[in-house]
Symmetry: C2
Subunit: 102 residues, 2 copies
């Protein structure tokens, strides 16, 4: 398996990188993640479980009856990739719809 | 839409980044892409069409009755993100299954 496919095995599924990017700013509560990302709740629960078992994020102890999540060091290690994808998205993303020269 | 989600709109679907990474080495024929990546043919055809219409790759003129594809400049612009994901995959990917310290 190539290094890239090894990475995508963990963060290649829909919403995964968006969840990790959202946690780069610091721990987030479940409800805030769901509202900010607009991700369906069953999907969010699945992705959080997958990312937790892959050691990318961890669940914080419950406070005021709300679950919160934070990135692990492994999760923080995705910052260069997320920043690079963000730069590409800014220059080429769906919003910039003029077709480039081939 | 965040820059990251704008990028993932185009290259976030399954196989997309693996196809782009495979073309970083140079143009590839359809059959070689399919064999090297092990991607189902209908999925490959769909992803190539999507990536072509997003200006990430282009179809090369037919030679010896085989279709080939090459990255555009926009597609080459994904190299930093693909390299960063590959580095993360090498250090943290599915193969390295020891759980990191939280």
């Amino acid at each position: 398996m190539s290094d890239l496919s090894a990475a995508l095995e963990i963060v290649g599924s829909r919403w995964a990188l968006l969840i990790v990017a959202r946690l780069m700013d610091g721990p987030q509560r479940y409800g805030d993640l769901q509202r900010d990302l607009g991700v369906p709740t069953n999907m969010l629960a699945t992705r959080l479980r997958e990312l937790e078992s892959a050691g990318v994020l961890r669940r914080l102890p419950l406070r005021h009856n709300t679950r919160a999540y934070a990135l692990t060091e492994r999760g923080q290690g995705l910052r260069p990739a997320i920043d690079a994808l963000g730069r590409w998205g800014a220059a080429n993303g769906a919003g910039t719809n003029e077709r480039p020269e081939p």
